[in-house]
Point group: C2
Chain length 425, copies 2
């Protein structure tokens, strides 16, 4: 039950995609209970293979250490016994989520008696292309399977041993269930040509999700013949309105910037209403600099706060720092704030802090982002935090799914029409 | 208020896309009533410009006649005064459809008190690339605008005068409304390079819909950096089950094949259960040949019906004839029918004729097509017939919208999160 290696990429990849598609047809007719049981079997098999997975990870770590990998990257690559336990728990959590399939909506009866409805079905085959963290292998396979999809997984070459050990375990787990092991396919070789061939398999694969840096996402988007759901950068803003409470504004801005600066829903630019700035901005700035945040500001901000603020360049307004750096701009009013967001935002996550309901409504209506928050930290833009359960990523393209994507976002709907012999006149 | 021509394609197209995006931001904040009024103003302006539109169409027809265009193509190009009246009526019908925007779903309160919901919003800017029929210019612009989207329209060069006259009228109509005229952009030149540049405008355009032949769709899909919703071919099947009523089966098969053979939801392959074939197939075949349908069949079909049936080649099972030709196959059972559909279908539309509820359920569950019908003609796979109102096309890709697409399918959803100062721990 190991993932087979061999043959040229030109034969291997189409064959994997074809087998995934065949498995997806079988998966599409499984019950929610059968998929729940299959997911627990996958978790059992992960737990049983913990030693093999940790040993495989040690090989990846040794190779990484030989190339002077950074500490952050090494940390993301590491998968120890507690890590495998977490992985197992995550798969069990997905197993226990509600079944996204079969939901019937938009039911109606047409004047000619036809009964029309829309039924939620799997997408079919989902390809994931991702970097470094080996836990994505189990998470993505489990979430795809929950939604009735087969998966073709392509992880980073630095995690290849770990990913193969995880995928082998998951497939062994499926061996005793109603779901065929071919429903999980991991590309077992590091050859970059494999991705190019993968992106041509539009007759077998329904969706590609690239997860990683902007370079990876752009390359996949430009090459792919298969629809791509992009997860681009998050240049997230908090706008502190004229009526904002000082304490709430400080807490939200600090949390959004400092709590975990390296993620896509972290704050990158603070916008402050000009009438609120004199009272609030010094307080907020002190909290931020106390936490080690570097501030880069517009001329008005520097006038107010002095040399603690570095002048912001034009490029700063579009930067996703993923670090303890924040740009700050004083704006004339809410309209100027939403215009700034329109010009520099990334459609990811935007927040307003205000005591004024009408301002909140105008902000929510004007801002075209996948998540818009009122009086809450941008860090809540996350599938788990918004109640979707496990998340496969955050889409910044508006098609299909805009924002955090859970199992339901890995489905589609078909029309089912029931008649009694109707024909068209 | 005319569409400006001039400058190189490299300047013109990005500028049009940029202006469409700016207009889309204004459109996103209009009310449903403002968009309803704007659509009626567009219809008024079309009616007022009827003479100009018909005169422009005469130029296109003259050019077409000079190149010995086929009768069918000329018919599709023709836009006379009654045609303009129909166009106007179609826009008014779209105006009176319910507003797809603002719908709030999936509302929930998280344990930390955050109120989460999803709100339906426009996609932003939709590009349509289409062939010949000039009425698409008005239909597409109106449907996009109904859903709060700006449109960038690229029609066929053979209809350029007609399309420009229609777009000019629509923009004049918007001049008196809350919707900026820039919300409708027609590419005013025939230069093919315009499409290549258009497909690079991913910073301004959210979706491309190619509508036309398979060549057009493939070319757009391969070149586009913008997400594409594909409308590929319809290789539609009717499966006549063992328990099917002879009269119902004959009516449905005849209607699906003969009523309008040149469209994507017309029947291309008939599958008949082996126990039903001896009684039913001769009756069905007679009805079809009486209507001038050429039959191409498998060996068992030819055994049963004789030389009235031409032997089907392998290629016949994948053909979209769009003509009075039908392939016929006798299958062992329902599973063989769904397997045939899995191998040869195009995910478009599939139907079963049966008196057996359990067979109907198995068929509906197994067939992965955007529309699955029980005891009704495949010709009902159409936005209007399924109750969606006007249709912008039929998507055969599973992402975003699978099957007929109305105004609602030209929208997306954002998360709106309301808090009272929540931060993440």
């Amino acid at each position: 039950m190991t993932v087979s290696v061999g043959g040229s990429v030109d034969l291997l990849i189409p064959d994997m995609a074809r087998r995934a598609r065949a498995a997806s047809r079988q998966l599409a007719t499984t019950s929610g209970e059968q998929r729940r049981v299959a997911l627990h079997a996958m978790a059992d098999a992960l737990a049983a293979a913990a030693d093999e997975i940790v040993a495989a990870n040690a090989l990846d770590l040794a190779a990484a250490d030989a190339t002077a990998i950074g500490a952050a990257m090494r940390d993301r690559l590491l998968l120890d016994h507690p890590g495998v336990k977490k992985l197992t728990a995550a798969v069990r959590e997905i197993a226990e989520q509600p079944d996204p399939l079969g939901e019937v909506t938009d039911a109606l009866v047409r004047p000619n008696g036809l009964r029309v409805s829309r039924v939620r079905i799997p997408l079919g085959v989902v390809a994931m292309i991702y970097e470094s963290r080996p836990n994505v292998t189990a998470d993505a396979a489990a979430l795809c399977l929950k939604a009735g999809n087969a998966s073709v997984l392509r992880g980073g070459k630095e995690a290849l041993h770990s990913n193969r050990a995880i995928a082998d375990a998951l497939r062994v787990g499926l061996g005793t269930t109603a779901v065929p092991p071919d429903a999980i396919q991991l590309i077992p070789i590091a050859d970059r040509a494999a991705v190019d061939v993968l992106l041509e398999q539009d007759q077998y694969i329904d969706l590609v999700i690239p997860r990683g840096g902007e370079g990876l996402i752009r390359a996949v988007t430009e090459k792919s013949r298969i629809p791509v759901l992009q997860h681009y950068k998050g240049v997230c803003h908090v706008y502190v309105d004229a009526s904002a409470d000082a304490r709430m504004a400080t807490d939200i801005v600090s949390n959004a910037k400092v709590q975990r600066p390296g993620v896509c829903n972290a704050l990158e630019t603070l916008l402050v209403h000009q009438t609120a700035a004199p009272d609030l901005l010094p307080v907020i700035a002190r909290a931020l600099t106390d936490s080690g945040v570097e501030l880069r500001g517009c001329a008005r901000t520097r006038e107010l706060l002095g040399d603690v603020v570095v002048p912001a360049s034009e490029a700063d307004w579009d930067a996703e720092y993923l670090d303890l750096i924040l740009t700050v701009r004083i704006v004339d009013d809410l309209a100027a704030a939403t215009e700034h967001i329109d010009n520099h935002g990334s459609s990811h996550t935007e927040a307003i802090v205000t005591a004024d309901d009408s301002a909140a409504q105008r902000f929510v209506a004007a801002v075209q982002a996948s998540t818009v928050l009122v009086n809450a930290s941008t860090r809540f833009a996350d599938g788990g935090q918004l109640g979707l359960g496990a998340e496969i990523g955050i889409s910044t393209s508006k098609l299909h799914a805009f924002g955090p994507m859970g199992a339901r976002e890995l489905t589609t709907r078909k029309f089912v029409v029931e008649g009694t012999g109707q024909i068209r006149g």
